[in-house]
Amino acid sequence: MSFVSIRLPSAGSEVIDRARPVTFSWNGKKLKAFTGDTIASAILANGDHIFGRSMKYHRPRGVLTADFWDPNLFVQVDDEPNVRAAHRLVENGMKVTSQNVWPSLKYDVKAANGLVGRFLTAGFYYKTFMKPAKLWPAYERILARFAPGGEVDLDTPHGYYDKRYAHPDVVVAGAGPAGLAAAIAAARAGASVMLVEHEHQVGGHLLWGSDDDRAAAAGMLTDARNLGVEILTNSTVTGRYEDNWLGILQRNHHIAEERLIKARAKMLIVAGGLIERPYVFAGNDIPGVMTSGAVRRLITMYGIKPGTRAVVLTANESGDAAVADLERAGVEIAEVVDGRTGAFVRSAEGSGRGTNHRLSAVTLSDGTKIDADLLVTAVGWTAPTSLLNMSGDRPVYDPAAARFFPGKTPDNVLATGGMVGDGTHDQLVAHGAATGTLAAGRAAVVQHRLQAATARAAAVDGPEPDYPEDLRTPLGRDPHPALFRSTTHGMVDYSEDVSSKDLFGAAAEGFDSVELIKRFTTATMGPSQGKLETVNTVAVLAEARGETIAEVGTTVWRPPYAPITLGALGGRVFEPVRVSSIQSYHESKGATPILAGQWIRPEHYDDPQAEVTNTRTNVGITDVTPLGKLDLKGPDVPKLLSLLYTNKWMQLPIGGVRYGIMCAEDGVVLDDGVTARLGDEHYLMTTTSSGAGGVWNWIENWLQTEHPDWQVHVTPVTTGFTSINVAGPNSRKLMGRVVAGVDLSNEAFPYMNVRTGTVAGVDDCVMWRIGFTGELSYEIQVPAGYGLHVWEALLADGKDLGIAPFGLEAQRVMRLEKGHFIVGQDTDGLSKAPTTGMTGLLKLDKDDWTGMPEVKWALEGDYPHIVAIQPTDPNCVPEEACQILRGPESNEIVGRITSSRYSPTLNRSICLGQLSPEFAEAGTELTVLLVNGERVTAKVMKHHAHFDPEGERLRG
């Protein structure tokens, strides 16, 4: 039988605007519809009723529930997969195609799977494809072809998504009558309210009810607006997390594709209504079998005639109302089967090929077979308690009402509406209003406490309000027959193609708890998130086990409430980057940038080897601003330094600079750097770039928790100064040209000293003579607002001295020539301080320093040593991380190369490495395994420094 859906005459109840037609394409066909149509109603109006095919058996599928949760209506829209056709509104120019069809919706060769279905029981893949093992990858590729869902277009641009925080008093999830009433009452009581509705219109089931219903919804909407309620339609509360942290997805924002609102709600009201359950029987997934809600929506809201001749199985008012709606739409009612009398539908069958496949006959419980192209079922409800589950609630089954009800929720979550009971319109509204008032009262208490506890908040007026107890009159519960499964087997999970027969089989095999059966059969795991399937799964399992539904229990719904795009979750991307004051210079010179944590730094300007040579020959300057800097003030700074560093600090003179190694409490090297004493009670500490933040927290922890009596003020000033290192034989000459007020002679300003003075007209510059590069060098700390000025002055004044900037890479080469280790590169997560070789700095006679006991014990035993290594072949630069082996024939690891470069100064390769102690003696010959598999020899050097081991240059 061929059926063409017909658009009904215009009616006041519809949400479509017939004055505004839209054109879109469906599987290549150009179709017309109206503004306000969903993709599903638009396609139905054009006479098609098959939207796609099921995952496993590729059975043709049509409308089942006609709402967001409909498992059969996933379509591809342009580059977007898995669009819910009964929720997404159709737009001009949309290209809609069906999913899960190969090669086409009409001719689907995979449908052959349906013929062998009896062999492909749930979990069949666990039992086969094992032998021969080497064929499994081939099987796997075939299985993957059956992956359901649409296609991702990898060229999809990452659109503009927005995020926003909110702190409303009350969030109401669901804008049916109870939710609307709750929002209005809460707002009247003075609360700030956010009302969130999944659908495009507020009103819930009023939308497909009577004219009076719709008038009531419109009236409440006006009230809510006038009271300043923030109303978000086409939006979903996707999750309730700790302390009422809510995720709210807004899908219709005007400047963004989607917006994620993160709300810290003082109160959450859950008013999500009820979801209609499908009925399980043979043929329940044939196109033409729908829920009562589906036909009522289609007729009333979209003017769609859903069939020509209908059988209606009704066990409640919704089914009864569907009969009236169908009659109004001109659908012939072939039979009304009243579930309340014990009658039911046994099975259904379809006929027609390809896209014409549709329901043709229904067999009733008494065996009567009736021709029909539409079967409407109204067999009961599921309370979508997801948000309550996320609040810790375990729903409880009530056999008399044949549905689950919420159990206990925390004080800041309240439920109202159909989810908690039944009633007349007025009763639902009254319950909602009482809930809103209660929520507003509780929110006021929370607000009072928050203000009282928060230093910056406005002072609270008066005493804390009384905390309102929940004195609401509960809604009643209408009796309902327990109609879950007929005497035949049918689909339980449409999107996963899991039938009640599969569930019986799985239970018999021992997968007989809710969790195991879910995992074994994949029931409830599909895109509907179990909203339609969970309760039927539980009911069928209960039947299989011969237990009650209450005994079997339910599974917990996990967030999100409805699937949410990665774009919306990722949102507007905040990825902070940090640059020094000299960044504009680096960019103007085309320096190659390198990312180091949040910092962008110049790796090199041109040839890093030339930069090294120029620095060693003339003078170079480099931007070392990211170096961590902490300003320390107070009389107890020396105590603090003694605690944090392994060496001694009580006697550092004013103007002196000292190097220190910092250990964690397990003795592992945490950081290193130099600290200068600028004044009597004033020090400037440096840390590694990456360690800056951590060291600050670490210091605060020690000061606040272990030594609160110490008088020390710590201020991070990392970028308060632009740090410029001036290095090279000509550096003193250059400094002489730009520095005022400081005697730069070696006698007056020797190595490891600090001075404060004026550089290029900039006062308060801190200069210290230190030498990571091993050259005569000055590190200038320039107040950052003048950093670029000093940099440019140095370049200008140093022209005739051969000045050139050098980048991070040249600095790394020079520090390696000099044998300085880098924390985290030459050391690792197990390297205790002795490994650095700086045993002279490990002062075990101090009272305390962090990690001291472990360092002491480490010194008593074996530990790896950092040593300088030179390959025999001067042109061979072993890659960093190359392993060092016990011997030419051995595969046993005795160490590794941690740093390596070609030294332009020495014209040979140089390395640092970690070695087990037996190989760390100077002169030991090593076997190094290169990445290409070659083994080369290398030698352990006497000094860490490959170049100028006596330090004559930097002290000169």
Binding site: Y241, E242, W245, R264, K266, V446, L450, A453
Partner: protein, 101 residues
């Protein structure tokens, strides 16, 4: 996201703070045996229940403070919010508002 009651700033989302882990005391580094020191370093009570822990208000007042939290239920002693589950034994709890040092 947990709302952590900073004694200075008031309740803040946990993302705004740094977690310091189980609170434990440090043995005297001069006299500690390896076993005592490594117990301090590595061994933890890790209770499924009430835990005294440290937090650092890293984007607010930059103060370290202690908090008592139930690791299974998420309850805090003396919470600000009525909806946050109330500690079952809050009468014996130390006041988190004064828990800093």
């Amino acid at each position: 996201m947990l709302l952590v009651p900073c004694p200075n700033c008031g309740p803040r989302s946990s993302q705004d703070l740094t977690y310091g882990g189980e609170s434990h005391s440090r043995p005297d580094p001069k006299t500690a045996t390896p076993e005592e020191w490594r117990t301090y370093l590595y061994l933890r009570d890790n209770p499924s229940g009430w835990l005294v822990e440290t937090w650092y208000c890293s984007s607010g007042c930059r103060r370290w403070f202690k908090l008592e939290r139930h690791t299974l239920t998420g309850e805090l002693r003396d919470p600000i919010l009525p909806g946050s589950k109330t500690g079952v034994a809050s009468d014996e709890a130390t006041n988190i508002q004064g828990g800093t040092k």
